[in-house]
């Protein structure tokens, strides 16, 4: 019985827990409930993933209304994979939160903050699971509105202006997506993705559909912070509370990339979508420009949190690059990098939160000699950094390898060379932190003080996973390859 209702529970559980947190108010019950719900959500996602891999895609008619009239939840290997890691990052960051938030959030607002966090998780999971375009828009706004609130809770007053800037750009992006959906609905008369995919080819060449694709894509580019539409991201990530940055960096932009995959390959047919406007070429250009510009800017940052934020913009470039090849290998690279980067950046930002917790800030000057005073956290950061560069036996290497292979398959070796070259830029910005942490003397009288275990264990969980999935690649890359084949309609 329960097994059939899992797709609905995946969304309903965090959604119902959010108002419960507001009612409970007290610190211990709120945190206990939220952490329990988050891990249950993760367990459901894992169960769904196993079910999908064993028995094929699940279609769930919400409320018993048959699609295309009712809203359909549709879980294929890609959706199940993304659900799994989004709920994982949510659960890990919430487990990390109690100690970290005690310093960053006024204690009388904690229950509201946790409620907003659960709503954000609901929205992100909803975007992934839904098979209905308008429903995707609604979930997109649920996650976006709650993330504005989460970012604004940062201690620095610049968090407020960052949240406002994100709100303005995010709303413009969402409204563009809404226009795109509206125009597509006008031409096809349906909002169900599968149904629309069947009806779209007839009207594909009309100007309305081309305009719809344009609006939808630009809206998504803003949401995923693709260069040059990334300006909201560095401030938002820099000033948000530590656990929020880790959570959003691991999930929010990834889910936007997921929507792009879904929209380009499931809803609109790939050949038409890319052939009509040479979008593929444009995307290669934009993503390479993004990788190089953002990595270079990252090198010159004085604040490590900001450095990582710019690095995130660069990483989105790698993901979009994989999409623009539109081959099985390219898509595998994108999908596996969604997962790997969520682990890596989530782990790095959590380690950053440990630094901020102990050293009181994340500017480079504060981290002098931190390798001696906080050896475990620093070592986690270094491993995460190596993975970001793409050193063999780390998760980052797996993504880069698939990406380079895809570039060579497509016959564009200069792109492959540029991917390698860009890794050097990553090496430079990671090295800057390593240098400060290990080779600068610690300030006088600094004692050895580690972050509390409740923060250190979640950090190591993500960093450790990024190493495990660098070696045990058949799990992550195997599922990613299956998801890519399913997207391109090639039978496994």
């Amino acid at each position: 019985m329960i097994r059939e209702q899992l797709p609905a529970l995946q969304i309903v559980l965090p959604l119902v827990a959010a108002p419960l947190c507001v009612i409970l108010r007290r610190r211990i019950p709120v945190l206990g409930l939220a952490i329990a719900v988050a891990w249950t959500t993760f367990a459901i996602a894992v169960a769904l993933l196993r079910q999908v891999l064993a028995d094929g895609p699940i279609a769930y008619a919400l409320g018993g209304w048959a699609p295309p009239w009712g809203i359909e939840y549709r879980i294929d290997p890609l959706a199940a994979f993304v659900l799994m890691f989004v709920s994982l990052i949510g659960a890990v960051t919430l487990t990390y939160a109690p100690r970290s938030l005690a310093r960053e959030i006024p204690s009388d607002r904690l229950h509201l903050f946790i409620a907003a966090f659960l709503l954000c998780l609901t929205g992100l999971l909803g975007i992934v699971i839904s098979g209905d375009l308008f429903n995707v828009f609604v979930f997109l706004e649920i996650s976006a509105l709650s993330s504005y609130v989460l970012i604004a809770m940062g201690r620095d007053r610049r968090a407020l202006t960052a949240a406002f800037q994100y709100l303005v750009l995010g709303t413009i992006g969402a409204t563009f997506i809404l226009i795109g959906i509206g125009l597509l609905y006008a031409m096809t008369g349906t909002l169900n993705m599968a149904d629309m995919a069947a009806r779209l080819p007839e009207v594909m060449s009309t100007r309305t559909v081309v305009a719809a694709l344009g609006f939808f894509s630009i809206g998504l580019f803003i949401k995923m912070a693709l260069f040059p539409l990334h300006i909201w991201l560095p401030n938002a990530y820099s000033y948000a509370p530590s656990m929020v940055t880790a959570f959003l960096a691991g999930t929010a932009t990834k889910v936007a990339v997921y929507v792009m995959l879904r929209f380009t390959f499931t809803v609109t047919n790939i050949k038409m979508s890319f052939g009509a406007s040479d979008l593929g070429t444009v995307l290669i250009g934009l993503s390479l420009a993004g990788i190089f510009v953002a990595s270079t800017v990252a090198i010159f940052q004085r604040d490590v949190k900001r450095l990582l934020a710019y690095s995130s913009v660069a990483q989105i470039g790698y993901m979009v690059l994989g999409i623009s090849f539109a081959s099985v290998t390219g898509l595998t690279a994108t999908i596996v990098h969604l997962f790997n980067h969520a682990l890596i950046k989530g782990g790095l930002f959590l380690a950053m939160g440990c630094f901020a917790f102990v050293a009181g800030g994340t500017r480079l000057e504060r981290l002098h000699g931190i390798g001696k005073t906080m050896p475990w956290t620093t070592f986690a950061w270094v491993l995460g950094g190596l993975s970001l560069i793409g050193v063999p036996a780390t998760a980052g290497f797996v993504s880069k390898m698939y990406l380079i292979r895809a570039a060579l398959e497509a016959g564009v070796w200069p792109v492959a060379a540029m991917i390698l070259l860009s890794s050097l830029l990553a090496l430079v910005y990671v090295w800057r932190v390593v240098e400060v942490a290990y080779f600068m003397p610690a300030p006088e009288g600094a004692e050895r003080r580690e972050a509390p275990l409740s923060m250190l264990i979640p950090t190591w969980l993500l960093i450790g996973a990024s190493i495990v999935f660098g070696i045990w690649t058949s799990a992550s890359a195997g599922i990613a390859a299956r998801a890519a084949e399913a997207l391109l309609g090639i039978a496994p």
């Binding site: 308008f134 828009f137 609604v138 706004e141 509105l145 504005y148 609130v149 604004a152 007053r157 610049r158 407020l160 202006t161 949240a163 406002f164 709100l167 303005v168 709303t171 413009i172 969402a174 409204t175 809404l178 226009i179 509206g182 609905y185 006008a186």
Partner: protein, 118 residues
Amino acid sequence: MTTVLGLFNYWVVIVLMMTGFYIVISRNNLIKKVIGLNIFQTSVFLLYISIGKLEGGTAPIIEPGFDRYSNPLPSVLILTAIVVGVATTSVALALIVRIREAYGTVEEDEILEIDGAE
């Protein structure tokens, strides 16, 4: 003539959309930015409702004598989008209140100046 008058709704949508967008980009005052954002969103609401309307169509209730019905779905969708718009506006205004408390101003250039001076 038909392209001007027949598509009157859509011209209004475009004018409103660009007006709102321009206000968001060009104004310094954060409240005015929110107003621009609202106009921008409203134009999309009008777009949806125009799509659903059929000339001479009535509300979709089966009744003898009527055989042309307007599509109710876009209006229903827009009810949801209006709620989203109201929520966005309230979050934005709440943020502006906090920004005013923290900076003492709601002018973007002054806020940037204060941040730059730090």
